[in-house]
Each structure stands twice: as structure tokens, then as C-alpha cells.
């Protein structure tokens, strides 16, 4: 089959690879009909996430048709059914899964020994990601093996297009959880850093959850335009001071809820000298992530507010203003998304016409064009916001 394979920094290729096969009784094989490139894939593209190996198949946003099931799936998933695959592999029965903490499932990381060493305790297995989370082959491919498939799936009705449901596997629940964990009140200002696909979903979730005002921060006009379309007030951080503007918009008190939908690769600009410092330290391997957005959020957030972090961080950060966070009594919530915790509810909202996540797709291409689309998405060329690939 064809698949997008990681060969090294900025080196993704569309390779011919052997077909996946059922390895465990709870496996299923899915023929992928649509998959997407995520901001998290860019962190892999730039080799900021440790423990990737040449030959790893990437991709964790995918959906398709079940073509084969193992003996242990026991009727919970059948051949021919159409599913979205959540990016977090879940067993559905461990202590964490039973609490709904699916992204930290205790059973699905097949390299648990590595994760226990690196993280202290393992988290869930993830598709197309580092070997610290199992190194499971990803879904930017014609076929993907879904381990624990009896629990790791979202069934979707035929009436909805791939484009409407694909993002149930990652960015829609990610934006939703980012907003939900802020516990938005009707008088809240919610500030969202980053208007990439995750930021866009976060903005819409915050609107649905009834924030008084949603403020969206980025520097790319097309992404700010898309944020405005959903009713957000926008700040272009290349043109104005984020802190000043946020204070203006909140009577000098700062936003109650701050959401980081940027992650470890905050834009580097001399206008924000700390980002230049971070970039230099990162190049010298003295720090792995660039935490500019975290610093800004902690500084501007209203005391006793909430900091929500869907943006991915990979390792160690420097100059983290813990003293501010502590004295202001901020609450931090973060994590890889507990996808299946939200998907029944979100699927219903899509069916009811409350939200249609396909608005975010700006580019559709063949799997063979994947390597070129990684570059296009990374370089923000042709006003790209989200790429969907058709294997």
C-alpha cells in the first residue's frame, strides 16, 4: 500500500510499504477514505518530538471503512462499518478509561516500559506519533491497523460526508475540550492564542458554550479572517500588543480564560525578544520548547482564572513564570484530548446542524501529494489552514 513515511527532519515521503495485518484479537484493519495533516504532525516534521524513527508511518486523523476485524472484537465493530479513528488508542476498561481519561489509558501503549521511564507513568498509545507513545503506524495511508478497535472507534452514519465527521477524531474534540475545561461562564472573556485548525475549533466551541466574548490571536490574516467569521474579536500580534489589547477588552482586568492553541513552536519574532532567546536555546539543545504563549497567558490572565493548554509541548521549557501563576492562583488544565469522552455529543451536534467542522478545510489532495502538502501547510502557503488527503 501507499503511506506517508517519516524519514527525518522535514523529510516525509509517500512510500510503498507492506500492508498492515491483524496482529491481536482486538485489532481491525480500516481502509482509509480520508485523512488530514495536523499541527502535531508539524512538530514531528520538525523533529521536535523525541523518539521518531525513520520508516515510521505518520498521521493520526483518519477515517474509513472496516475491512477486517480480529476474533476479539466480538460484534462491537463489523466489517463494512464506517468509522472515524480517534488519535488516542483506548482499551475502554482500565481505571483511566473508566474515568473518561482516555488519553492516559494505561493499557494501550505497547512501549509502556519506555513511557514509564520517560514520563514517570505511561500514557495512551497514539497513532503515527513517537515511540514513547507506542510508535503505532499512522493513518496517512491506504490502510491502517486499529489496535483495541472494539473501543477505539467512532461509528458515523452514512448521511454525513467524510469532511463533516473526519475531525471528530482529533481537532474538533480537542477544541471542545480546550473550551470545556475552562468551565466558561456567560460573563467570561475567552482568549485563544493560535488560529490554526485547533484554534478555529476552540473558538467555535467557546461560542457554543456561551462566552461573552471570544478573542482570537494570530498573525496570519486568512486565519484571523476565519476566526472573525465565527464571531471572534481578533488581535494580530505582529501589529499590536496582545497584553494591552486584551486588557482594553476586559476593563483592565484581563481575560478570565486563556487557551494556548499554539504549542511548542511559537512564532519567532524580534518583536517578542523572548522568542529569539528561546529559539537560540532550542538550537543549542538547552531547551526543547518555546513557551512564549504560556508566559503571555500567565501574565495577562485575570487572577483566579483558568489556563487551558491543548497546544502540544514536548519536553523542557525555560523562564516559566511560576511565581506569577502561583500568586495569581491560576488553574492549569492540559493534555492530549480524551477524544471518545466527547464524540457522541459532538456527533449529535453535527447531525443537528449546530456545527459543521468542514469549514476549516482549505486544501484537498491525493495521498501522493502528501509530502508537498506538508510543506505547504508548514509554510502557510496559498492561505492554507487545513489539508485533507484522499488515499
Amino acid at each position: 500500500m501507499k503511506a506517508l513515511v517519516w524519514h527525518g527532519k522535514e523529510d516525509i515521503r509517500c512510500d510503498s510499504v507492506t500492508d498492515p495485518k491483524i496482529e491481536e484479537p482486538r485489532d481491525a484493519i480500516v481502509r482509509v477514505t480520508s485523512c488530514a495533516i495536523c499541527g502535531s504532525d508539524l512538530h514531528l516534521f520538525h523533529n521536535f518530538i523525541p523518539a521518531m524513527l525513520p520508516g515510521d508511518i505518520v498521521g493520526h486523523e483518519m477515517m474509513g471503512e472496516v475491512v477486517e476485524v480480529g476474533s476479539g472484537v466480538e460484534g462491537r465493530l463489523r466489517k463494512g462499518e464506517r468509522i472515524v479513528v480517534p488519535f488516542t488508542i483506548i482499551c475502554g476498561e482500565c481505571d483511566q478509561c473508566r474515568r473518561g481519561n482516555f488519553s492516559v489509558c494505561e493499557k494501550t501503549n505497547r512501549k509502556k516500559h519506555l513511557a514509564d521511564k520517560a514520563f514517570g507513568h505511561t500514557t495512551a498509545g497514539l497513532f503515527g506519533y513517537t515511540h514513547l507513545t507506542g510508535g503505532y503506524p499512522g493513518g496517512q495511508a491506504q490502510y491502517v491497523r486499529v489496535p483495541f478497535a472494539d473501543a477505539t472507534h467512532i461509528k458515523v452514519p452514512d448521511g454525513l460526508s467524510d469532511e463533516q465527521v473526519l475531525f471528530l477524531g482529533d481537532i474538533l474534540p480537542t477544541g471542545w475540550q480546550a473550551a470545556v475545561q475552562c468551565d466558561i461562564q456567560p460573563d467570561d472573556t475567552v482568549a485563544v492564542w493560535g488560529c490554526g485548525p485547533v484554534g478555529q475549533m476552540t473558538i467555535r466551541s467557546a461560542i457554543l458554550l456561551g462566552a461573552k466574548q471570544v478573542v482570537a490571536i494570530d498573525r496570519l490574516p486568512e486565519r484571523l479572517g476565519m476566526a472573525e467569521a465565527a464571531g471572534a474579536i481578533t488581535i494580530n500580534f505582529d501589529e499590536e500588543s496582545v497584553v494591552e489589547r486584551l486588557n482594553e477588552l476586559t476593563g483592565g482586568k484581563g481575560p478570565e480564560k486563556c487557551i494556548d492553541a499554539v504549542g511548542l513552536e511559537s512564532h519567532v519574532s524580534p518583536l517578542q525578544p523572548d522568542t529569539v532567546y528561546d529559539r537560540a536555546k532550542q538550537l543549542l539543545m538547552l531547551e526543547s520548547d518555546r513557551p512564549h504563549v504560556l508566559r503571555e497567558m500567565i501574565y495577562v490572565c485575570r487572577p483566579a482564572g483558568v489556563i487551558s493548554i491543548p497546544g502540544v509541548y514536548g519536553g523542557l521549557i525555560d523562564k516559566f513564570p511560576m511565581g506569577l501563576a502561583m500568586n495569581k492562583g491560576l488553574t492549569f488544565r492540559m493534555g492530549q484530548t480524551h477524544v471518545n469522552r466527547w464524540t457522541d455529543d459532538l456527533l449529535r451536534r453535527i447531525e443537528d446542524g449546530q456545527i459543521d467542522p468542514s469549514f476549516v478545510i482549505t486544501h484537498t489532495a491525493r495521498l501522493e501529494d502528501g509530502p508537498e502538502m506538508y510543506k505547504l501547510f508548514r509554510d502557510k502557503q496559498d492561505n492554507c489552514v487545513k489539508v485533507v488527503l484522499k488515499p
Partner: protein, 198 residues
């Protein structure tokens, strides 16, 4: 490399049979080659400055050569990173400095004037490559697009923005483990707190 990394895979994991074209273009490869060249040259300047100054008749300038070595390594690291554009343009700047330094040693009284001439020619050649590389990556990774698509019509709310505002409050409860600290929520004038914890 691929066969070594396959040790980390399970038996059933797909293995690469044939590789397709890379997301790296020709100019990206040139940038990498120049990056590694920088690191090699930088290490030589850092570790063996005496041999270099002797060959160029620049005895006494060892510290300068060491400093240039550090600078070279800097260009190299940057050229090998996703910020290769900055890396290659920094190399072009470095080339100018190298050329100026060598020119100052291209004096009639320098017994190694011949070597300096060769070095000048070599650096001039590399400068040309650096310029080609820097311009290449700049245009390959330039943001294109323009003003025509701003997506101001893409709300994502099929029933319109007005109906979307707060729509999920009707039927969604924030789970207890994700509710805000009482300090932020207790005095919410909406009185909503009681409802969401009920």
C-alpha cells in the same frame, strides 16, 4: 537506517518497500549540505587554528580563527534547522567577513600570499553557492496566497452565528473534574454555578 529502525517495530508493522520523492526539495538538500560544511569547517577552525594561520601566513590570529569557527558552527546549526533561510543568509554574511579577512592577508609581504589567493577563490565559490542556496530556500518557502481568500464567510455554524452563541448551554454540563476553581466561579452573577454543579 531503515533496517536498523525496523528492530523497534512489531512483526506486523508495515515496512518500507520503495521510497517516493521527499518533502525536501533540491534547495533544502543544498541547505543541508552547506550546513554540514559549516559545521566541518567550524570544527577545523576551532580545533586546529594554528595549522590554518600557518598555511595563510596569519600567525598570531589563532583566537580570531577560533571565533570564526564558533560562528561557522552557528551558521551550520541554523542551516540544518527548519530556520535554514536565516542559516543560509547568515552564511552569506559570514562569507563577506571571511573574504574581508582573507583580503587583508593578501599582502605582497605575506610569504603565503599564494595560499591566501587560493583560499579567496574557494570562499568566493562558496559564497556563490550560498547565495544560490539562500535565494532558493527563500523562494521555495515564501508565503504565497495574497488577500483574496480570507474565509470571512466560513463560520462553521450552519444555523448562523446568532443561534450558535451559547447553544450548547441548553444541553451540556461541564463535568465535575473540569469545573473552574471556586474562586473564579462562585460569584458568577449568572448564578449558573448552581446549575452546573447540581
Amino acid at each position: 537506517m531503515l533496517s536498523i529502525s525496523n528492530i523497534a517495530r512489531s512483526e506486523g508493522d508495515p515496512k518500507v518497500l520503495r521510497s517516493g520523492p521527499s518533502s525536501r526539495g533540491g534547495t533544502d538538500e543544498l541547505a543541508r549540505a552547506l550546513g554540514w560544511f559549516s559545521i566541518g569547517l567550524g570544527l577545523a577552525e576551532l580545533l586546529a587554528p594554528r595549522q590554518i594561520t600557518r598555511a595563510l601566513g596569519m600567525e598570531g590570529k589563532e583566537m580570531l580563527v577560533r571565533g570564526y569557527g564558533l560562528r561557522e558552527i552557528g551558521h551550520g546549526i541554523l542551516s540544518l534547522s527548519p530556520d535554514k533561510k536565516a542559516g543560509l543568509w547568515s552564511r552569506v554574511g559570514g562569507d563577506a567577513l571571511d573574504l574581508a579577512t582573507l583580503a587583508s592577508a593578501y599582502r605582497p609581504d605575506n610569504p603565503k600570499r599564494g595560499n591566501v589567493g587560493i583560499a579567496l577563490a574557494a570562499v568566493a565559490g562558496i559564497t556563490l553557492l550560498d547565495l544560490v542556496g539562500a535565494q532558493g530556500v527563500t523562494s521555495r518557502h515564501r508565503r504565497t496566497g495574497g488577500d483574496h481568500r480570507r474565509y470571512r464567510d466560513r463560520s462553521g455554524f450552519p444555523q448562523g452565528l446568532q443561534r450558535a452563541r451559547g447553544a450548547a448551554r441548553q444541553d451540556f454540563r461541564v463535568p465535575p473534574d473540569m469545573q473552574a476553581a471556586p474562586t473564579a466561579a462562585a460569584l458568577s452573577p449568572s448564578g449558573d454555578r448552581a446549575a452546573s454543579t447540581a
